[in-house]
């Protein structure tokens, strides 16, 4: 057709450039959606492999921890959506403004009401790790709004992907009602197809007019966002361990590898009955002494005794 056409081994091309070399070259690898995906791949894997997330995916999530997780999410999304509202007409955010489809803070408020009751606002507070995350979001929204894209991308894209898997796991693991209470965070009523929406969101990200420098900064901010999230997971993991201990201390001593209540163990009482009453009594006294109430009683008794002795001696 055109006189400029030359044939190469790869095929006919219009002389405008070299033959198509590979998928990395075409379709501008500088597209923000691709740059962000590539730049956060490593930290995303890391986040998936935190103990908290691994346990969650295996259905090992305790309700107390899940509730605290929802609290953390509430503060995070409230902050993020506040900053999004502030910057909805900013040229560096406007194409990504999808409040009906995406915004979560109201759904989270309903979830918290379900978990904590109508009085939930006075019962929940922002944890330390969450506060750091929230502060950064406010800082970014007020001082450098383009970086808000990184935070929105990290959370919302995640919610629409693995987040959907988490919802089903959570529902089964904690036997939450099939009518959706407690899990409204995961329910995007304004989005019919998560896949199609993600594609739309990516196209909008790519419509932002940004130089390579800014795109690099966005990657850095997205990595930061992942790290903030991981710190919240770690904080939850630590809290999870202390919850376990409290539960144990409140009951009778931990018996056996399963952490059971010794008073319910038929073998234990059989063993004690067989070996005679004294050993049993000693065990009982020791049990009483380890029990906080027992400790209080013992202390009271000791104090009373000391008081009486003192009175006598005076």
């Amino acid at each position: 057709m055109s006189a400029e056409k030359m044939e190469t081994a790869a095929g006919v091309y219009d002389g405008a450039g070299p033959a198509y070399e590979g998928k990395e070259d075409a379709l501008s690898p500088e597209d923000l959606s691709e740059v962000l995906a590539a730049g956060t791949k490593e930290v995303h894997e890391k986040a998936e492999n935190t103990q908290f997330v691994k346990d969650f995916l295996r259905g090992r999530i305790r309700k107390e921890l899940f509730k605290l997780g929802a609290v953390a999410l509430y503060y995070t999304y409230t902050a993020m959506e506040e900053e999004i509202e502030r910057n909805k007409d900013h040229p560096h955010f406007a194409p990504l403004y999808f409040p009906t489809e995406l915004h979560r803070h109201e759904a989270l408020a309903r979830d918290l009401e379900y978990f904590y009751g109508p009085d939930w606002q006075s019962q929940v507070s922002c944890s330390q790790a969450t506060q750091l995350y929230v502060d950064r979001i406010h800082q970014v929204g007020q001082e450098d709004p383009v970086l808000l894209v990184a935070h929105a991308y990290t959370r919302y894209m995640g919610d629409l992907s693995g987040g959907q898997v988490l919802r089903k796991v959570a529902q089964r693991a904690m036997k939450l009602p099939s009518t959706g209470e407690g899990l409204e965070f995961y329910q995007f009523d304004g989005i019919h197809s998560a896949k199609a929406f993600k594609q739309l969101y990516r196209s909008r990200m790519n419509e932002l007019v940004l130089d390579m420098e800014t795109k690099k900064r966005l990657v850095e901010e997205a990595v930061k966002a992942f790290q903030f999230n991981m710190e919240v997971f770690d904080e939850l993991e630590v809290i999870g361990q202390t919850i376990q201990e409290d539960v144990l201390d409140a009951g009778m001593p931990v018996h056996g590898a399963m952490g059971g209540d010794v008073s319910k163990c038929p073998y234990y009482s059989a063993k004690m009955a067989a070996s005679g009453g004294t050993a049993y009594a000693c065990q009982l006294v020791m049990a009483v002494l380890r029990h906080p109430t027992g400790q209080v009683l013992f202390a009271t008794w000791f104090a009373a005794l000391a008081g009486l002795a003192a009175w006598y001696l005076m």
Binding site: L27, S33, N206, S269, A304, Y312
Partner: protein, 678 residues
């Protein structure tokens, strides 16, 4: 008295004088100890369980668990065993439900964790009469088995020489389409068991958690059990009565205010309309325009406009409008006649399972007429489980057998169903007419028929131009079946008959908006290529209106290219005036129309695209154009993709594989969107 006083005084005095502190201390100690223990005893009474008395001291540690499922099945009289590979409990739940189902069909089932049993015994199932192994296998991670199925998986892989010829089996796979190795485990088990000689009783079921796993399971299971019964020649409970899910209650003296007359959700929601409007509370939009779009030909293409003033409903071009159609009253009447019932009797169907969330199959109380008109699908060819359940009502034993056979998974049965029901497009009325000995009770039929679904149409207007009006572009579905009957599409015929009236009785359409992700680019300057033959042009009418509006607002608008196709220029070139006007005004920078039947050779949109390949390629590759395809999914959408692959190969110097990848990537990045239907 005086003596005693003296005595006591005398008695106490020495106590004070006496030096025996040890004694009194011991008293104090014992007293305190008693007090302390009493207090403790009172406190510990709060603990609910006292330490139980273990009577059987001589019993040794619990007996070793039975690891032979064969022995267990024989001991408990079970012939069906349902193994589950489950991580979060769903597979296990499905297995439990299946094992419970068995008794509806006169069999006995148990669910089992493959980790707890000797799976090597599978070949022994032939020792049990009418035995069947069902596998509910979830896929985990990257196509891996769940933890509890790991050993079974390893066993399957290692034992090439295993002979499972006595094993009847079926598999239901649980997975998620967003993962690359969708249902890998279920697919593997299904294939491997066959390789090892086992007999597949029913097709592999594929459950997609990204879509609706529960629905996938229920559909599969509905067709599965009839097939099993057929295979074993088992009746669904000896005494000719199948287990009903609902109980019929006829109402004789009910206040008509309590009766549903077609509402989808709340009673009287069609009389007293309250926003917000959604799938459970649709808005009754008045029809303000209903005109025929084509100039000639025997099809009927139509353009309707729905008025949403006062509803607070908002939409964007590219969104879908959902409408709730009703069945043709002539069809409903014929059903009433052939079933020999008074359709205006008011009834309720109440769920016998009191724990179920679903109290009724459709809003009750209501009349049979309302149910058949508004709530039930009476036009789609009934599914196999419906045939199976109705078979008992055929007085001719040959008809009974035919019905049951069509529900089985035998090749002859499947073929029969495929041709007699699906191929001939027989709906329930046709089946009743062609099988006169079949006389089901209407209430059981109402229990079996599926719910009538809302239909979705791509909105053909832009909210920027038409804020209070939504346009629909559709073609009326009407065709002659192999039996000579005329089948009519429910929604399109219903819409066609929604005529505009200027009196107070307006035609209304219950509707709501379902947001889509089919959107113009954010920037008006971004070029767009729209490909929408036939009624696929619908969303693009909205896009074109919107770009026209932007131009009027003084905004700079990029290349706007349209590829349209129809049969004959003089017949079905719908919206010709609007399109040519838009081209004249420069809103459409390029208008390409293919008339498929106006010449010897078929000309479709993809041919026009190839003719314009340089323009297209430049727009896509250099100018960041967004591509939109709307219309037929089966052929047109594929042909358009192929044309783009070819253009990429020719002008982009790519191999076919590279070109395919290129287009795929455009889709991922939201630059290639599809709104297609089959």
């Amino acid at each position: 008295m005086a003596d005693m006083d003296a005595d006591t005084t005398a008695h106490t005095e020495p106590l004070v004088d006496e030096e025996e502190p040890l004694f009194s201390n011991l008293d104090l100690f014992l007293f305190s100890l008693i007090v302390g223990l009493v207090i403790y005893w009172f406190m510990s009474r709060k603990n609910p369980e006292p330490i139980p008395e273990f009577k059987k001291l001589d019993t040794p540690a619990p007996t070793t668990r039975e690891t032979s499922f064969i022995e267990k099945m024989k001991k408990t009289g079970k012939n069906i065993i349902v193994f589950y590979g489950s991580q979060t409990g769903t597979g296990e739940e499905f297995a439990n439900r299946l094992s419970k189902d068995a008794q509806r069909y006169g069999m006995k089932g148990m669910s089992a964790d493959p980790e707890e049993y000797e799976m090597g015994e599978l070949s022994r199932l032939s020792e049990i009469k009418n035995s069947l192994a069902i596998f509910c296998m979830a896929t985990y991670g990257e196509g891996d088995p769940t933890d509890n199925a790991q050993d079974f998986y390893d066993w399957l892989q290692e034992n090439d020489g295993e002979n499972l010829s006595g094993l009847n089996y079926t598999v239901f796979a649980l997975g998620n389409k967003t993962y690359e190795h969708y249902n890998a485990m279920g697919v593997y088990v299904d294939k491997r068991l066959e390789e090892l000689g086992a007999m597949r009783i029913f097709d592999l079921g594929l459950g997609d958690d990204d879509g609706n796993l529960e629905e996938d399971f229920v559909s599969w299971r509905e067709q599965f059990w009839p097939a099993v019964c057929e295979h074993f020649g088992v009746e669904a409970l000896g005494d000719d009565s199948s287990i009903r899910q609902y109980e019929l209650k006829e109402h004789t003296d009910l206040n008509m205010n309590k009766v549903y007359t077609g509402e989808i959700g709340r009673l009287k929601s069609f009389e007293v309309q309250k926003p917000p409007f959604d799938s459970k509370n649709p808005f009754l939009a008045a029809v303000t325009v209903n005109r025929r779009l084509n100039k000639a030909g025997n099809r009927h293409l139509m353009h309707l406009e729905l008025d949403i003033t006062g509803s607070k409903i908002r939409y964007e071009s590219g969104d879908h409008v959902a409408v709730f159609p009703t069945n043709d009253s002539a069809l409903v009447n014929k059903l009433g006649q052939i079933l020999g019932v008074d359709l205006d009797v008011v009834i309720s169907l109440n769920n016998l399972d009191e724990e179920s969330n679903k109290k009724h199959p459709f809003p009750c109380p209501t009349s049979y007429r309302t149910a058949l008109t508004h709530y039930l699908d009476i036009t789609q060819p009934p599914r196999t489980n419906v045939l199976y359940e109705l078979a008992q009502y055929a007085s001719d034993p040959k008809d009974q057998e035919t019905m049951r056979k069509m529900a089985s998974s035998s090749p002859e049965g499947k073929a029969r169903y495929h041709s007699w029901v699906q191929g001939a497009s027989r709906n329930i009325l046709a089946i009743l007419e062609d099988m006169p000995s079949l006389k089901p009770p209407i209430d059981h039929l109402c229990e079996l028929l599926p719910r009538l679904q809302a239909r979705y149409y791509s909105i053909a207007s832009s909210s920027k131009v038409h804020t209070n009006s939504i346009s629909i572009c559709a073609v009326v579905v009407e065709y002659e079946t192999l039996t000579g009957r005329m089948n009519k599409g429910v929604a399109t015929n219903w819409l066609k008959n929604k005529l505009v009236s200027d009196n107070s009785q307006k035609s209304t359409v219950p509707m709501y908006i379902r947001k889509s992700q089919f959107r113009l680019p954010f920037k008006a300057t971004n070029p767009v290529i729209m490909i929408g033959p036939g009624t696929g042009i619908a969303p693009f009418m909205g896009f074109i209106q919107e770009r026209g509006w932007l131009k009027e607002q003084g905004k700079e608008v990029g290349e706007t290219v349209m590829f349209f196709g129809c049969r004959h220029k003089n017949e079905d070139y719908i919206y010709q005036e609007e399109l040519e006007e838009a081209e004249k005004n420069g809103v459409l920078t390029q208008l390409n129309v293919a008339f498929s039947r106006d010449q010897e050779q078929k000309m479709y949109v993809q041919h026009l695209m190839k003719t314009n390949k340089e323009v297209i390629w430049k727009l896509i590759h250099s100018d960041n154009a967004h591509i939109y395809v709307c219309g037929d999914a089966k052929n047109m959408a594929k042909d358009v993709q192929t044309a783009l692959h070819e253009i990429g190969e020719e002008l982009g110097g790519m191999t076919r594989a590279q070109a395919t990848d290129y287009i795929k990537k455009l889709m991922t990045k939201g630059r290639y969107s599809q709104d297609v239907w089959s």
